[in-house]
Symmetry: C2
Subunit: 387 residues, 2 copies
């Protein structure tokens, strides 16, 4: 199996690298003190260190269920299964449903595509447009696959957010074709304008909604979850159990402790949203100013801005890596792996200085490549005029 290009880049960067490559949240926003306090109080009792239930910590399932219900998506704790990150959540689902084909966005999340491959599931890619997935092709594909994997909120890698109309249509098509939706929602809380209701809330009996604390609290705690109807979630438990018995309990206790401090947690989320919004604004302003030939759709949330350009982005990356700047070529997010001259930039884990410097270096490299291309075509013209 091929390793993830992004995680390989991650391993070769050092502390001086300006990285727009990973999907790393900003460490400075990790609520270190609260986590420390919560860890300390959890570790007053040995119970937290013992083997525990595969379904997850009851208090945490309760709190997650409440937060769905509060937003109008009625959910009970029995409809929540805790997993070791939402990466595992997807694996648990795929192993249990044993499908042959799945409809996905093009481009889509690399880690999910690797999981489809691992589970022997063939992807049918449907183009992602400014307002969501292209509906005609989606309809045709789902009629065949009966299964779709979508990231409707601030998608990875494009940053695109589905419009309400597109959400409604997706729900309608899933229902009409007796399909199942896997809705991956790790970025949903990172909205800059408004929270968008999950597509799953329209089709609660034919959807898995995947959540994660990696982007809102801290990735290394490795806690995610699946929200699904009792009928859909029940068979998952045996898979979760055999895969790693249960998810880390200290992490679950820490998160449950933090979530139960409702006001503090809300302030924390608000803080992240504000910070990421201003980072996004700064990043796109710098792009507009320095390299206006980069086209992008301004994200309404999340962690990524996705650029289309004319230069060969793999050659560009080769050049900028030497100068200590990295990003991920868009081609990595398509199942055909073709080069597409698209770039995913992550803006959440860099300071303004790094963003400014990084875009400066990318601009220089881009201009140099454009200069080489022009030179070549000049020479070609001269040779042509001689012959």
């Amino acid at each position: 199996m091929k390793r993830s290009f992004i995680r390989e880049i991650l391993e070769y960067t050092n502390s001086n690298t300006i990285s727009f490559a990973g999907g790393l949240p900003d460490e400075k926003l990790f609520p270190l003190e609260v986590i420390r306090d919560c860890a300390n109080s959890a570790l007053q009792s040995a119970k937290v260190l013992q083997y525990a239930k595969s379904s997850g910590l009851d208090s945490l399932r309760e709190l997650i269920a409440q937060s769905y219900t509060k937003r109008g998506f009625k959910t009970s704790p029995e409809e929540i299964l805790i997993t070791s990150g939402s990466q595992q959540a997807l694996d648990v689902i795929l192993r249990s449903i044993k499908s042959q084909n799945i409809t996905v966005e093009a481009p889509s999340y690399l880690g999910a595509m690797n999981l489809f491959a691992l589970n022997g599931i063939k992807t049918e890619a449907v183009e992602l447009k400014e307002n969501g997935i292209e509906l005609n092709s989606f309809k045709q594909s789902v009629a065949n696959t009966k299964l779709a994997y979508l990231i409707p909120d601030f998608q990875n890698p494009t940053g695109i957010s589905y419009s309400q109309e597109c959400r409604d249509m997706v729900a309608k098509e899933i229902k009409e074709h007796n399909g199942i939706l896997i809705e991956d929602a790790p970025y949903s809380e990172l909205y800059f304008e408004e929270f968008m209701p999950p597509i799953s809330s329209k089709i609660p009996n034919s959807s898995y909604h995947l959540g994660s604390f990696s982007k809102t609290l801290a990735p290394a705690l490795r806690v995610g979850w699946i929200r699904a109807s009792k009928k859909l979630i029940k068979p998952l438990l045996a898979y979760k159990e055999v895969m790693d018995l249960h998810t880390n309990m200290l992490s679950q206790e820490i998160i449950s402790c933090f979530l139960s401090k409702h006001k503090l947690y809300e302030e924390h989320l608000e803080n992240i949203r504000n910070s990421y919004k201003s980072k996004m604004e700064f990043f796109t302003q710098e792009l507009d100013k320095k390299i206006p030939e980069f086209n992008y759709i301004k994200p309404k949330g999340g962690m990524f801005v996705y650029v289309k350009t004319d230069v060969d982005v793999y050659k560009l990356l080769e050049r900028t890596m030497q100068n200590g700047v990295v990003f991920v070529p868009g081609g990595e997010f398509y199942s055909d792996n073709k080069n597409r001259n698209e770039i995913r930039f992550n803006y959440t884990n860099s300071t303004q200085e790094q963003i400014s410097k990084g875009i400066e270096l990318i601009t220089e490299a881009t201009h140099y490549m454009q200069y080489l291309t022009n030179q070549k075509s000049d020479r070609y013209e001269r040779i042509n005029s001689l012959s």
Copy 2:
């Protein structure tokens, strides 16, 4: 997929149940204070909460490698892959090697057998004898499967420990047939007499050695590892990565912190060994005293004593459950699931009072069942004599 019987029992017991069922370590031996201190110092820096390398925390890999080397099994940190418990370790290996058949002990660890089933691998069961696996059948089986899964140290469920001779022969057969050994060793540190060198140390290029901190430190931290040659371990990384990105970092930091306090850690292990040894002695003395018709091989380490009897153990369990005592029928540990009138008792998570009371209640229930059987056969004899 069938859920684990043991974990189902675990979920239905309450705080008053005397449980000899799970494989639970003794909570009172968890080094709660050290773990709290280590957690606190790890959480001084936000770095510990960020996404991290799939291979695991470097300092922890180094410390694990050192502990192998110290015991004469030369190991480098690159030969260690950290996993989310050794349950996941086995899954990572099985997904990567894509075998059709595997040689296993009969009986064997339930969680492993469920993983074989999940990965579409058929088991060939070879009888476990007092000194290890039955070598003639093992030889024949491995010639066919080229792959074996064994638990040579204080096996689960039987508590059996392979003799040095048996270890040598297993290594020889694996080598001769170009096979691969998966050696599961979660109990190896829990020896009552002496540490036994892993079979893997004899065949370092054709073995995976699986370790875990669940029995020596705390299960809920969910940290295990695979020790294998660089050639065998390299392809595993991509699987580990796609399954859950990486293992919980806070747990890894905590464990690394504790392991680096070498003397303290050694004392802690010694403490567990002494405590479990005296629990085992007490448990078997009580059996000898109260119910001498239960046959068992006295364990030299680990967490289980395995009993053979004449009564129907499922009916016995039904009866003792009503009185608040649970254990696992041996039949659960065989791939054919046939009832065998064998019982696995876990002795590590009960107090002397609980052990005494539990065995008392099991004795009563056994005697009652024997009485019923005798009555029936008496009646049968009477009817026979009348006809």
